[in-house]
């Protein structure tokens, strides 16, 4: 029996994704949140690769490639924002960011 089937990778990636969500929900440090987002992205990437392997189709790789690009861009802008926020509020605690209301 081959464990390296899409099924097992599905469980793995689901678990990773849930861990990412968990992190987002229980942590307040914005940088940790960013990290958790990366975990979730990676869970999705993993799924792509697993299915690409399953179907013998390399389109999935391309998608992962692009999602990495986006993640990189996001990290760059996101971190720049975070530095800015820290300078302004002197904290990275998202519960202080409650100005987003009417």
């Amino acid at each position: 029996m081959d464990l390296i089937g899409y099924e097992n990778y599905f469980w793995l990636s689901t678990a990773l994704f849930s861990i990412g969500i968990l992190g987002i929900l229980i942590r307040r440090n914005m940088i940790i949140l960013l990290m958790c987002i990366e975990i979730m992205l990676n869970a999705a990437n993993l799924m792509f690769i697993a299915f690409a392997y399953k179907w013998g189709n390399m389109d999935g790789h391309i998608f992962v490639f692009f999602s990495m690009l986006v993640a990189a861009a996001e990290a760059a802008v996101g971190l720049a924002l975070m530095v800015l926020i820290y300078r302004k509020f002197k904290t990275v605690d998202i519960s202080y960011l409650d100005k987003l209301k009417f």
Binding site: L25, V70, A71, A80
Partner: protein, 171 residues
Amino acid sequence: MEIQNIIFIILSALTLMCALGVVFSKNPIHSGLLLVLTMFSISGHYLLLHAQFVAIVNIIVYAGAVMVLLLFVLMLLNLNKDNEPQKSIMVKIIGTLSAGGIMISLVAVSKIFLVQKSMQGRPIAEDFGYVKSLGALLFTDYILPFELASILFLAAIVGAVFLGTRSVENK
């Protein structure tokens, strides 16, 4: 038991443990470092799945560039265990429940939509996952998204630089 399966189990365990560590570690620095480990183990999975190029890119981009950036920021902001904000226990419980809920629903979805259908895989080609074949795909079928991605990068660079310089001016 084949060697691949053993590697899979070990890697999976490592991935999950590291990911949990990212979430639960008190010190942001530790989180960052554990995330790097997670990335490495995921790259291991990629290798198992014959995605060599992606595995390498993953290490270079994520573990290399992004994570270094993250850690750099962490250290720049001088964040450590002492001033790490904590949530109330209630929020933590709700969060855990929600995350569990997501997991259960995803599992349920997969049980219903994926597993029930018999999915006959296809054998992989000789050059599956090679840089050459990936490149051929990227520069033929996906040339437009590729170019758009470069524009996105440009925008991201401009954005990051702009944000950085504004803050200097403010001071």
